[in-house]
């Protein structure tokens, strides 16, 4: 299971979020200034890579916070 810190790092890289922002599990990722449809696609692809399982539009619709994404990884991570 990847650590929270590594997950945040991967999220920041995928979505090209400003690294000065303080991230937390209850951060709503759609509120970040840099959030866009392209960022969303990059995150979906990142989540698919991290879990080895397709992470799709339906899945991201059900997630609002970084915590939601992290819980998804916990539940589906490729061992």
């Amino acid at each position: 299971m990847i650590s929270k810190e590594i997950f945040f790092q991967q999220f920041v890289e995928a979505a090209e979020i400003d690294t000065e922002i303080e991230l937390a599990l209850d951060s709503n990722f759609r509120d970040f200034d840099e959030w866009s449809s392209l960022a969303g696609l990059c995150v979906m692809q990142m989540m698919t890579e991290l879990t080895g399982k397709p992470f799709t539009v339906s899945d991201i619709k059900n997630c609002n916070t970084l915590g939601d994404l992290y819980k998804y990884i916990e539940a589906n991570e490729n061992h």
Partner: protein, 243 residues
């Protein structure tokens, strides 16, 4: 300089509309403005490198509302190995819309918030209802007069968007396209600039080049085009004025 009386806009927008296309050597003058003074809504498109015309229009009360960017990309230069393209590829499919019933279904899927960044929708004088009606009218006209082709974009077998286009001897003119409101902001907007490339790959029908136009106001979409390294062919400064 070309002045076009946009008579087809009258019923939709409820006013007389003129479009002025400035050519490379044109220098605008008062005499030119006199030719359009009877119109209620005037749109002037100035190609880049004509700053004097931009200043002239600003002094005459025209507002700069957007920059129209003409972009293109060759089929050969498209990176099908890009990780985001590979991510989408297996879940997407396309079908040509030919049948009248299918076309009517498409028209019903076009809703007022779908195209939220065109100059009519953003203009407080017109708004999103007129913006939507105008696009639907344009599409209907193109379909009935056989002036364009239509394609449905499917993601996991569900229609999520469409394309209105022409294929001129291997050069695809991506006239209009988009993702339906229900599916916007979830990452599949990437299907807007990639639709013809992915369709051609799947059906083994490569083409020469895709050309299209986007507005500077459509930030989500130009992020995608920028990511995909589309070439900028021309920029037009679009000014408008209401009487």
């Amino acid at each position: 300089m070309k002045i076009i009386d946009c008579y087809w806009e009258r019923d939709i927008l409820g006013c007389r509309v003129a479009e002025v296309i400035i050519e490379t050597s044109d220098v605008l003058s008062e005499k030119d403005l006199n030719q359009i003074e009877d119109y209620d809504y005037v749109v002037v498109k100035v190609p880049m490198h004509q700053v004097d015309n931009n200043y002239f229009l600003s002094k005459k009360g025209f507002a700069l509302v957007e920059v129209q960017c003409k972009l293109s990309k060759t089929y050969k230069s498209f990176d099908f190995d890009d990780k985001l393209i590979k991510y989408l590829y297996s879940d997407v499919s396309f079908s040509e819309i030919v049948d009248r019933n299918d076309f009517n279904t498409l028209l019903e899927s076009i809703t007022p918030n779908m195209f939220s960044t065109d100059r009519i929708t953003l203009d407080p004088v017109f708004g999103k209802e007129k913006g939507c009606l105008r696009y639907k009218h344009w599409m209907k006209d193109a379909y009935e007069n056989d002036q364009a082709n239509f394609m449905s974009i499917l993601y996991k077998n569900e229609p999520v968007g469409f394309s209105m286009y022409k294929n001129n001897d291997g050069v695809i003119d991506g006239i209009l396209g988009g993702i339906f409101v229900k599916y916007q902001s979830y990452g599949i907007g990437m299907l807007t600039p990639t639709r013809h490339f992915l369709n051609a790959k799947k059906s083994n029908t490569p083409f020469k080049k895709l050309s299209t136009s986007i507005s500077s106001n459509n930030e989500p979409v130009w992020r995608f085009y920028n990511y995909l390294n589309f070439k900028i062919d021309q920029l037009y400064y679009v000014f408008i004025k209401h009487k």
